[in-house]
């Protein structure tokens, strides 16, 4: 029943050179272009103060762009206030109205959308059922747990069938165990209903887990846009490489490029990998900790500086002549001793040259 009542009117969102500044000198969002496809979940990811929340609030209509154009569907909404945009938002603090019951909260938006009384009620109840809160309609928000409050906030936004649904760090007030479950629920609802969702977070793991596409932001502008896998496997620069998962950034020399494949060397150790448009010369290489092979036949020399047992694997800090790096190893039964010399190589796939480092 709920599936029949709550449908999706998903629409794409488009930013065209949008800038937002506060006062004269604070530029929160600097000339960004962004396209969110209909029915996709796109995450805005970045450290605090990077402009991701401001971007989200501009989609909602809670902040007005200083310049540029914002389109939802094929409608230009740049100057429309929040009330007139077909967008709803789940707030970080949930912003449930404390003086209204759960049902009143969920019905709130519907009463302003021209539904009859019975239809409002049916839709609100359907929304509550969808988020698994059937039977909670008479409670006050203060009588619910944090996770339940969060689901009420989601239901309240969902029942309006918005063109775009916005989430502002929805998991940050939940405990760690609940986070995994709630993010899976959000992803499931989004995929079932085919919603367009823009999702703000600063947690890279959360972003990797839920997104169709991730927009990494830094200093009011976009650092890189891509699918979770492409961002993880092929970051454009040191910032993205380090922000999405950990990465060792190593200096190397590109000795030659042929057919878009580069041959690099580190202390004489040779490795071939995609050139990503780089020419021979000095370059930076990003290697994930799991892609360093300790005890390889071929490789560069390093010394074990630190060894830590974390249960599922061993974590090592390695000291090489050009700097230190962080590696993990699955063999926990015969750990390497601190101080011993090892040869370190790369696994076949994994290391990636950074074009903009």
């Amino acid at each position: 029943m709920s599936e029949t009542l709550i449908a999706s009117k998903a629409a794409p969102v488009r930013f065209e050179s949008v800038t937002k500044s506060f006062g004269r000198d604070v530029v929160a969002v600097d000339n960004i272009d962004l396209h969110v496809e209909a029915g996709k979940l796109v995450t805005l990811l970045g450290p605090s103060g990077c402009g991701k929340t401001t971007t989200l609030r501009m989609i909602a209509g809670l902040e007005m762009a200083t310049s540029g154009r914002i389109l939802i569907g094929d409608r230009d909404v740049t100057t429309l206030p929040a009330t007139d945009r077909d967008v709803s938002m789940v707030f970080q603090s949930y912003a449930l109205f404390p003086h209204m019951s759960v049902l009143e909260n969920v019905s709130y938006g519907l009463t302003f959308s021209g539904f009859s009384k019975t239809e409002t009620r049916d839709r609100a109840l359907a929304g509550l059922e969808l988020v698994g809160l059937k039977g909670f309609d008479a409670r006050l928000p203060s009588e619910l747990s944090g996770g339940q409050q969060q689901r009420v906030a989601v239901a309240r936004a969902l029942v309006l069938e918005p063109q775009v649904l916005l989430f502002d760090e929805p998991l940050s007030n939940l405990d760690a165990k609940l986070r995994r479950q709630v993010r899976e629920d959000i992803r499931a609802i989004q995929q079932d209903l085919g919603l367009t969702v823009v999702y703000v977070t600063h947690d890279q793991e959360e972003a990797l887990a839920v997104s169709d596409e991730i927009v990494v932001m830094r200093n009011a502008s976009i650092a890189q846009i891509g699918t979770p896998r492409s961002l993880y496997d092929a970051p454009v620069d040191r910032f993205v490489a380090d922000f999405i998962g950990e990465a060792n950034i190593l200096p190397c020399t590109i000795e030659g490029v042929a057919d878009d494949m580069a041959t690099i060397s580190i202390e004489g150790y040779k490795h071939t990998l995609p050139a990503r448009g780089l020419a021979p010369g000095e370059a930076k290489l990003a290697v994930r900790p799991s892609r360093l092979v300790i005890g390889a036949q071929d490789g560069f020399k390093a010394k074990i500086a630190k060894a830590t047992y974390v249960g599922v694997r061993m974590e090592y800090t390695l000291e090489a002549s050009f700097g230190s790096m962080f590696a993990v190893h699955d063999d926990v039964d015969t750990p390497l001793e601190v101080g011993s010399d090892v040869t370190v190589g790369f696994s076949q796939k994994g290391p990636v040259l950074l074009p903009e480092a």
Binding site: F22, G23, R24, T83, Q92, A95, H99, F112, S172, N173
Partner: protein, 739 residues
């Protein structure tokens, strides 16, 4: 109140209070010294053998006041606790027994024996005529009573109450005792007084005849006559409550939800009620609309009509009180209106509610606690207001002035005053109760968790226009009224001779420089210095009591905490007039005999202003994370050291605010003060009211103006010392605004 947690046998707090008890019993004068609490003439005037100044031990030694002898027993008992360990069950038992016995006997003999021997017939019947008498308690009794109280609380703590924390138990005990003595005891005494016949017996018919008096409940005004004071007060208070709440909300909305550019000027409004003695507004209104007021004269000349006395009565009091108390409502509402979490309103907007719908369905309901509070404050202030009805009331009788005339006037009828005060108290307590009912158990706290970075939306246009009109009209009116006060103080004789003169200031505040020093020749200096001295003495005590109570309420949990909170906040709902009446009824006879002294003024200020100190303390303490205390406790400090070293330094702004606020409030208060002043201790406000009654408006207004400037200086100094708080929220207009 220092304590140690270690298991040594010498507990400094215990030794201190035992020594204090002995000093109180053997060294200090037992009875109140007539020359005043802070005069030390007794040291050279017959001490320690003169009966008036002798300590209890010397009295007994001379064979007098033998009923004090049993007080020695608990003091001796307490000595047995000295050698014991805290964990020893006997330790607790000894202290509890000693404290309870001593304190109990002290109270019992105090109430049992008064200035005419035994206070109760049955005591005389039982023991025969005493043939002796005693006066109010003094230093010795006070110290011994404290010693017994804190020995008792140490005993309770040793038994493990509140984790055996001596400081907390002692603080709770102390606060309970002083609130009982200075709030509940006088009120109870007053309630009893309503039943006392002229012969001193008790009778319900006396109460009934006074209670059902037509002057109290008459409904003559419905048929063109006069109504009873109770109806007048009730109607006035409700109207003032509603008007001030609406106007306060109007100003709060202009400041928080509009693009108005002179918000700072509006915020300055909040300072006005604090620094203005309430009746000053009444005076200004007389200058404007009175029989010879400027506006009256202007219209009389314009239309050739006879000026009327329309101002005197209900209209004048209503306008004056609305003017005087609107800023208080604003002060309450601004915090609430700002406190509504912006993300609530933003959420409503993203849920397709337009500005008006957002305001009506979300913002306004969330402001409900503030509206209820503002109404309650306006209601109580109006009920308690004494100055404006006195100045402007005419034939419009209200309870507060009726009480005053019952006590001070020719009729001198304490019973009637008590009955009237009971009606007044009944109204305010009902309002207090109704407010709690109306708010119910719904939650209005909007700030949950983190992440409130939003912006308050602007008001809907349909609301903004009337709001602006109301705000501007009222703002201008206020400015005119205050202008009149300033102008009125430099006019020779208002409406008759409008030449400018400093005469009134000279009469009030002239000084002569002579060889022996400065001579304060002005008529107002006496009451001015008394006011400063009393206010300065009351301020730190108010702050201390308020902050300790706030600390107990926010940081500790103990059985009966809700009752404790209710008790401490109750004096907030008790009008000053009631406090005044109950104090003179309770404290002009032993065991506590302080009417006519400065102490009674100080004490009344402490308990009148304590709720403010408590609220201020709670507000700032609940912002300090509890883990701060806990980390201090785990680092080895006890709760007194934690309070002293961690909480207090972080509360500096709150302390300063409480200090200045209670200082200034003490200077402007009138309703309780008018009953408690004496020839020796006259306060500025009661002096001014006296001038007004003699139609000496010039001097009254000049004095009021001076007071306003003195207090403005005090508040300004505070602002400088504390600085302004910064709220890092986004604003409607993009730029980060500095508030």
């Amino acid at each position: 109140m220092r304590n140690v947690s270690s298991e040594t046998t010498a507990h400094p707090a215990l030794i201190f209070w035992i020594v204090a008890g002995w000093v109180g019993f053997c060294l200090l004068p037992w009875y109140g010294v007539e020359d005043g609490f802070f005069s030390f003439e007794w040291l050279v005037d017959g001490y320690p053998f003169d009966e008036d100044y002798a300590p209890a031990a010397f009295l007994i030694g001379q064979g007098e006041k033998l009923w004090l002898t049993p007080l020695l027993i608990p003091l001796i008992i307490s000595l047995f606790a000295l050698g014991r360990k805290k964990s020893d069950p006997l330790y607790a038992k000894i202290l509890i027994a000693s404290g309870a016995l001593g304190f109990g006997w002290l109270i019992a003999q105090g109430f049992g024996i008064g200035i005419r021997g035994y206070n109760y017939e049955w005591l005389t019947a039982l023991f025969g005529d005493l043939g002796d008498r005693q006066f109010g308690m003094g230093y010795g009794a006070l110290l011994l009573a404290s010693a017994y109280l804190f020995l008792f609380t140490q005993g309770i703590a040793a038994r493990g109450a509140i984790n055996g924390d001596v400081f907390v138990v002692s603080a709770i005990g102390g606060v309970i005792v002083i609130v009982t003595v200075f709030v509940f005891f006088p009120i109870a005494k007053m309630l009893l007084a309503a039943f006392i016949t002229e012969e001193g017996g008790y009778s319900a018919s006396v109460f009934a005849s006074k209670f059902f008096d037509d002057r109290l409940w008459g409904l003559g005004c419905l048929s063109g006559g006069r109504c009873g004071a109770a109806w007048n007060s009730l109607f006035l208070a409700i109207t003032v409550g509603i008007l001030t709440t609406v106007l306060g909300l109007v100003f709060a909305l202009v400041v928080t939800r509009s693009g108005f550019r002179y918000k700072r000027a509006l915020r300055a409004l909040t300072v006005l009620p604090i620094i203005t003695p309430p009746f000053v507004i009444g005076l200004a209104l007389i200058l404007l609309f009175g029989l010879s007021g400027s506006v009256t004269q202007f219209f009389a000349d314009l239309f050739g009509v006879q000026p009327t006395r329309w101002l005197y009565g209900m209209p004048g009091v209503l306008i004056a009180q609305t003017l005087a108390f609107t800023p208080i409502a604003f002060l309450v509402l601004i915090g609430v209106v700002e406190g509504v979490s912006p993300s609530m309103e933003e959420a409503a907007q993203t849920l397709r509610a337009n500005r008006w719908q957002t305001f009506r369905t979300v913002s306004l309901p969330l402001m409900r606690p503030g509206l209820a509070n503002a109404f309650l404050l306006g209601f109580i202030e109006s009920m308690a207001d004494f100055g404006n009805p006195l100045v402007l009331g005419g034939n419009f009788d209200v309870l507060s002035t009726e009480i005053f005339f019952a006590i001070v006037g020719a009729q001198y009828d304490q019973g009637r005053a008590a009955v009237l005060a009971m009606v007044l108290l009944f109204f305010t307590l009902s309002a207090f109760y109704a407010q709690r009912m109306w708010l119910g158990k719904k939650s209005y706290t909007t700030v949950s968790g983190k992440g409130d970075a939003g912006v308050h939306p602007l008001m809907p246009n349909g609301l903004a226009i009337p709001v602006f009109i109301a705000a501007i009209t009222w703002g201008l009116f206020t400015v005119v009224v205050y202008g009149m006060i300033l102008y009125g103080s430099v006019v020779e004789l208002w409406g008759v001779n409008n030449t400018l003169t400093f005469k009134h200031y000279v009469t009030a505040f002239s000084v002569r420089f002579e060889e022996t020093g400065i001579r304060w020749t002005g008529a107002a200096w006496d009451s001015f210095w008394t006011t400063i001295y009393i206010a300065a003495a009351a301020a730190p005590l108010t702050a201390i009591v308020g902050l300790i109570t706030a600390y107990l309420l926010t940081r500790q949990s103990f059985a009966g905490k809700n009752a404790f909170e209710f008790g401490t906040m109750l004096s907030f709902a008790i009008p000053g007039t009631v406090i005044g009446v109950s104090y003179i009824l309770a404290f002009n006879v032993p065991p506590i005999e302080i009417t006519g002294t400065g102490i009674i003024l100080i004490v009344s200020f402490i308990f009148r202003n304590m709720p403010v100190g408590v609220r201020a303390g709670i507000a700032s303490m609940s912002q300090l994370d509890k883990s701060l205390d806990e980390s201090s406790l785990t680092l080895g400090a006890n709760s007194w050291q934690t309070f002293r070293r961690v909480i207090l330094p972080l509360l500096k702004p709150a302390i300063l605010a409480a200090l200045v606020y209670s200082f200034v409030r003490a200077m402007t208060a009138i309703s309780a003060v008018i009953f408690l002043v004496s020839a020796e201790y006259d306060m500025a406000t009661s002096y001014i009211i006296g001038r007004v009654e003699n139609n000496d408006y010039g001097l009254a207004i000049a004095y009021s103006t001076t007071l306003i400037f003195v207090m403005l200086a005090a508040v300004g100094l505070l602002q400088l010392l504390v600085g302004r708080t910064q709220i890092g929220r986004r604003t409607q207009f993009g730029a980060k605004e500095q508030t």
